[in-house]
Symmetry: C2
Subunit: 209 residues, 2 copies
DNA sequence: TAGATTGTTAATCGATTAACAATC
DNA sequence: TAGATTGTTAATCGATTAACAATC
């Protein structure tokens, strides 16, 4: 899989993730085969792009039939790493931290949330479903004990870098940053920035007359 | 502004939004000038890209000094449409719907949440801070009464298209889709897809050995 | 003035699309 | 077989970067 990770451009990979979600849905609905054209239509792409993307995979379609959903789904699952499970910790028990914790979709996709932490003494000890909010002081211990790979930064921008430093020092391999801060991390670690406010701003731009 | 909307590529525009957030933060911290190189460093870009992007704006830097944060921030604010206010409605009072409602950042940036709706009778009437969850049957009335421009889809993927149809029929101009469904909307309307699960999947991919 | 930094042009790089032979 | 659809090559398109004259 490592060669693929190196070969696939970030553009291609992001589309593969969308193919996966789309195919999973269609497959659940009972569909068994899909052509590059149909998949393109679903996702607002060209059939050329779809074929080009899928050609990167160790998987082939069949002329006149298209792609077998079941097999393609499995291939994508494995390429994207969704056949693994990732121990995850959420730092910040604000609205977004809680929403992530409560959202079953993440667990289903393989992201096991092991703990949620906060620095606010008023929140520490509070229960959210089966979790108790823990002190951020325990971050290192929690990461080590649970072999946590992914840390989610759900704190205000001003605290984001400090949290990122703690997370990487504790040994997480990747960070999902929900804050607006641009966080620096050591070489070899992975960071993905996920900021819904940027999507709102995009909308504002396109609606601006 | 309309000419700009047409000229700016989506890539450039997304970076402008990041510049805006970054500059806002630095300006609050008291910084007054920034060079293309410094801004590039903050956001992991090249100074060339930054200068190229800023050259699209009706704004100039000064040799040897760089860009005046105050003025650049104002220019970006106006280009991105953040000097306007957008009446917004949230459909779906699940974890994410509530998180958005409670997150002050959106209101600050100009997105006025007028109502939150759900179809679950158990949720309707429930209070979240100063809001009461309303029935999704009232969607059209709420949109019309409040001159809502933006609808946020925070319902499961299976219900997303129906909600999008209702929203556009009721007259919203843009949709922010948080569901994994790929929603189709009429020409002339704007849709932005915002799916945190895709960011998680990206992380899984890069962490996959 | 000398040096730094912008704004802009041209070159490079990469991503998307078109086209078509191979295949079922 | 005829027709449809893949896989792949080459062409196009667009985005990023390099380079440098203009400017402060």
């Amino acid at each position: 899989m490592t060669e693929l990770t190196e070969k696939l451009s970030s553009c291609v990979m992001q589309r593969l993730a969308r193919y996966y979600l789309c195919i999973q849905r269609l497959h659940e609905q009972g569909l068994e085969w899909i052509s590059s054209q149909e998949l393109a239509l679903e996702l607002d792409l060209t059939s050329s792009t779809v074929r080009q993307d899928i050609s990167h995979l160790d998987f082939s379609g069949i002329s006149k039939r298209g792609y077998e959903l079941d097999k393609l789904q499995q291939t994508l699952r494995s390429v994207l790493g969704l056949d693994k499970r990732f121990a995850t910790v959420i730092v910040g028990a604000g609205n977004f931290g809680r929403a992530l914790l409560l959202h079953d979709d993440f667990r289903e996709k393989g992201f096991d949330i092991k703990a949620i932490l906060d620095k606010d003494p008023k929140l520490i000890g509070k229960r959210i479903e089966s979790y108790y909010i823990q002190s951020v002081d325990k971050l290192t211990a929690v990461v080590k004990k649970n072999k946590v790979w992914i840390g989610v930064i759900a704190v205000p921008a001003s605290a984001a870098q400090a949290v990122a430093d703690q997370l990487t020092a504790a040994g997480v391999k990747g960070i999902l940053n929900l804050s607006t801060a641009n966080v620096q991390i050591p070489q070899g670690k992975v960071i993905i920035n996920s900021r819904i406010i940027l999507d709102f701003i995009q909308l504002a731009f396109y609606l601006n007359i």
